[in-house]
């Protein structure tokens, strides 16, 4: 080998101790491959499910059918009271936590899904004395409290318009959900037992109805896209959301004559993930 060739070889070869390109590629964190896409062309891991937890004000519309004077029965028991326990205003709204789950089975500018949601609501008040006297300082019992509780369970068809978020990085996802709902309810008397009326009918049961939700989700990926991508790679969570929604629940056995009405028109806010 001539001196010239040797010099050329020394210049071309990496100095001793320098890793090869293959080694650098193997150890690199930079993904040089094209981004993974699911069968609908969305980047990231396959997206099949959504889970959400939300919280919102709720007040069952029990008195909706009441057309008499004064307050309806629900307000009479659970309404705002004065110092003597007499109702002087409508009941305060309570809080209803809701858990929701979706199976996203098709993508058409956004996932179509079938899912369910379950909520819980409870209201409580001091029981009203049945026969208050002039000697009573209040018409409420100090010892007894009565409650009304309900658990609405819905089966919902949902659509989330994610095209703008997926293709153009607009972090907003409008969505809608609709479906039938069955709500269990029970009311307890001052002794803690399921209430009964004078005819012995139990104050517990269930009513059918429907629920319509419409809302807007804020896709949180834009805050830290790298972190969002890494979350997808490590856990399979495609997107995280903050959302708010309008909700209308009509729970009265579709207007059947003598059914209790425990739906409400309200709003919820919550957190959601797609995975």
């Amino acid at each position: 080998m001539s001196a010239g060739l040797l010099a050329a070889a020394l210049v071309a070869a990496p100095p001793a101790g320098t890793p090869s390109e293959a080694a650098i590629a193997r150890q690199s964190n930079v993904n040089t491959e094209a981004p993974r896409r699911d069968k609908f062309g969305r980047p990231g891991s396959p997206q099949r499910f959504a889970f959400e937890i939300k919280l919102g004000p709720y007040l069952p519309d029990v008195d909706r059918k009441y057309e008499g004077p004064g307050f309806g029965p629900y307000a009479t028991i659970f309404g705002e009271t004065d110092g003597e326990g007499v109702v002087n205003d409508a009941p305060k709204v309570g809080l209803m936590p809701v858990l929701g789950f979706d199976w996203q089975f098709f993508y058409a500018g956004g996932p179509l899904g079938l899912g369910t949601q379950v909520g819980f609501f409870r209201d409580k008040a001091q029981a009203v004395l049945a026969n208050p006297t002039d000697e009573d300082e209040t018409v409420r019992s100090a010892a007894d409290s009565v409650t009304f509780s309900m658990v609405p369970i819905s089966a919902l068809f949902s659509y989330r318009f994610e095209l703008l978020a997926d293709r153009y990085r607009v972090p907003l996802v409008p969505y809608g959900e609709v479906g039938p709902t069955y709500a269990f309810y029970w009311t307890r008397d001052g002794r803690g037992n399921i209430a009964r009326d004078d005819e012995g009918d139990r104050g517990a049961g269930g009513v059918w109805g429907f629920t319509v939700n419409a809302g807007l989700m804020l896709r949180m990926d834009f805050i830290e896209r790298g972190t969002a991508k890494k979350l997808d790679q490590t856990t399979g969570i495609n997107h995280t959301y903050l959302f708010g929604e309008f909700s209308m629940g009509r729970l009265d056995n579709f207007g059947a004559g003598s059914s209790i009405s425990i739906g409400d028109v309200t709003w919820f806010a919550g957190l959601g993930i797609e995975f």
Binding site: G68, S141, N253
Partner: protein, 612 residues
């Protein structure tokens, strides 16, 4: 002072012929003399050790017959104040098992606690124990069964009386004592007459019972009711019920509660009450006991009790124990130069129950002080008198300048009179939670007038040698209370509360209420009818204490949502899970669902037609 004696109802049992020899050291002295004079002495076999003895305990029925063998829970919580007052005997079995031949040496079985110290006859806190069996080794190789009054677990015998368990006089009553007692066995080595401390091979802790954790509990006696720390009791009428509430706080000795109720006239409420399936029923910490409940017809058995026994002279020499009898013959102790009496008078203050050692950590020898402090901290033991006990003594013991009286301030929460403490703390919880200060004491003077009245109004005399018989009567049989001082039930003038305050089981109106509870409901009452209610707290052994004053509450009918709906036109309809059975409302949104359904069906049909 002449002891108050009650004739034994139960005759001596099989060991009577042997026990008849007791009370005199003659056989032992004779045997000891023989052993020392006859020679040459043969080689002795090893004396039996504690593990050679089997000790077992049984409960007994009202007639004294043996019940079931005691479990670990029984050992820990069966012997309470009520069983002591009723004289519900504990049956015991002692058996010696040894694979080796044994010399015939005297073996004595005692019942009590600290029997080794009691044998010395010079310790105020440990009197001689009651002697149950006095026989020789070979007799113990058979099962020896006997019954003893539970009082003997806590009390020694008077110094001047016999030690035989069937004829001895107890030096204490069933009051305010707690600890471990049991069978003590002394195997004499014949070096000295009578049992010496080092000759006790079974020391009260030995049982054959093992609990789930592998521990072997000893037989515990607890005659001390719990201290109440819960405050702010109130009773409110509910629908067919009364709800009682209180502010719970950390308590040390309370196992749980029971709520008591009575009609306004003081009679028990129909359908309420509690009865014991058997007098041997396991306590389990869910039942409280009083003598009036457990033995309403009177005690099953009684022992002689001298509630104010003569003190034991601190004779530290190793001589015979018969000299203690001398100390009892001198009723007049003033200015007497008699040697024995002078020696007694010269002894420390424990003899008069005023030992100042209670004021510092170490030991406490003042019995009233021990009792007073234990009402605040049951863990304070006379022989294990810690700093905290000494601190309590400065508040609760006159020997330390303290006074647990509710009428005077002290540096600790609460005071000794529970009803008064409950009353005052109901208005000012800090009195029971923080400190019984001047404000609390002042409140007590108003709220607990009888308690804080001048001494000449009080029912207790000024400590003169009055009539102890009246004291023992009140503790042993509570059947006739005589109607005295029954009118101090805070603000309940016009109500006869003696029934409910007796804690009779007929007034029990609740199940067991856990120690950490702060509310309870008494159901099954009539609306618009007044009831007396009372809360009772008790410890694991079942010693009760009234945790509240008697309250009056009236159940009131209340209305719930369902009844309100019914009253306002059946707004809520009918309950049930299948209520879509009535005619639909034409104005309802049901049409929307049906329209959608029809649209879907029509679309499918059109689609199917197109394909065809």
């Amino acid at each position: 002072m002449r002891p108050h004696r009650v004739r034994l109802r139960r005759p001596p049992r099989g060991e009577g012929s042997i026990l008849a020899l007791l009370g005199s050291a003659a056989p032992v002295v004779l045997l000891g003399a023989l052993a020392m004079t006859v020679g040459p002495q043969p080689v002795r076999a090893a004396p039996p050790s504690g593990t050679d003895f089997t000790i077992q305990y049984w409960t007994t029925n009202a007639d004294g017959s043996r019940g079931r063998q005691m479990t670990a829970n029984d050992l820990r919580g069966y012997v309470n104040k009520a069983r002591c007052e009723c004289g519900q005997a504990v049956s015991a079995r002692v058996r010696l098992s040894s694979s080796e031949a044994l010399d015939a040496v005297p073996v004595r079985t005692f019942v009590g606690n600290r029997c080794d110290q009691g044998q010395l006859g010079n310790n105020a806190q440990a009197r001689p124990c009651a002697l149950a069996i006095d026989d020789f080794t070979n007799t113990y190789t058979r099962n020896i069964d006997f019954e003893f009054n539970p009082l003997w677990l806590a009390s020694g015998v008077t110094s001047d009386g016999p030690r035989d368990i069937n004829s001895a006089t107890a030096a204490a009553t069933c009051d305010a004592q707690t600890g471990d007692g049991g069978i003590w066995v002394c195997v004499e080595n014949l070096d000295q007459p009578d049992c010496q401390p080092e000759e006790f091979v079974v020391t009260g802790q030995q049982t054959e019972v093992t609990d789930a954790d592998g521990n072997t509990p000893s037989l515990t006696y607890d005659f001390l009711p719990p201290t109440i720390n819960a405050t702010n009791f109130r009773a409110q009428g509910g629908d067919g019920s009364v709800v009682i509430k209180w502010d719970n706080s950390t308590t040390t000795d309370i196992q749980g509660y029971r709520a008591l109720c009575a009609n306004a006239d003081g009679s028990p409420v129909d359908g309420k009450g509690f009865s014991l399936s058997s007098v041997t029923q396991q306590n389990n910490g869910t039942v409280y006991f009083t003598a009036e409940n457990l033995c309403p017809d009177g005690p099953f058995d009684q022992v002689d009790v001298d509630p104010d026994p003569d003190p034991i002279a601190p004779d530290t020499d190793s001589g015979t124990d018969t000299d203690t009898g001398d100390s009892t013959d001198g009723g007049d102790t003033d200015g007497d130069t008699d040697g024995g009496v002078a020696e007694l008078e010269a002894e420390p203050d424990w003899a008069r129950g005023s030992g100042e050692d209670c004021c510092t950590a170490g030991v406490c020898s003042d019995a009233p002080c021990i009792v007073a402090v234990q009402t605040q901290d049951a863990s304070c033991d006379a022989q294990n008198w810690g700093e905290s006990c000494a601190a309590l003594a400065t508040d609760y013991c006159s020997v330390c300048g303290g006074d647990g009286s509710c009428c005077l301030p002290n540096d600790t929460p609460s005071c000794l009179d529970t009803p008064c403490a409950v009353t005052v703390c109901g208005d000012n919880p800090d009195c029971c939670n923080v400190r019984w200060d001047e404000t609390c004491a002042s409140a007590a003077e108003t709220a607990c007038a009888n308690l804080c009245a001048p001494p000449d109004d009080s029912t207790t005399s000024g400590g003169t040698s009055g009539d102890p018989a009246t004291d023992t009567d009140s503790t042993t049989t509570g059947g006739d209370t005589g109607g005295e001082t029954d009118t101090d039930t805070g603000g309940l003038a016009g109500y006869d509360t003696t029934g409910i305050e007796s804690l009779d089981w007929a007034y029990v109106c609740s199940d067991f209420i856990a120690q950490n509870a702060s509310t309870a409901r008494i159901d099954g009452l009539q609306n618009d009818q007044e009831y007396q209610v009372l809360l009772v707290a008790f410890d694991y052994a079942g010693n009760p204490v009234a945790a509240s004053d008697v309250f009056i509450a009236t159940p009131r009918e209340t209305t719930d949502l369902w009844e309100q709906c019914d009253a306002q036109g059946e707004i809520c309809g009918k309950g049930g899970f299948c209520s879509v059975t009535t005619q639909p409302n034409p104005k309802g949104p049901g049409w929307l669902l049906l329209t959608g359904l029809f649209a879907m069906v029509a679309r499918r049909r059109r689609s199917a037609g197109g394909h065809a």
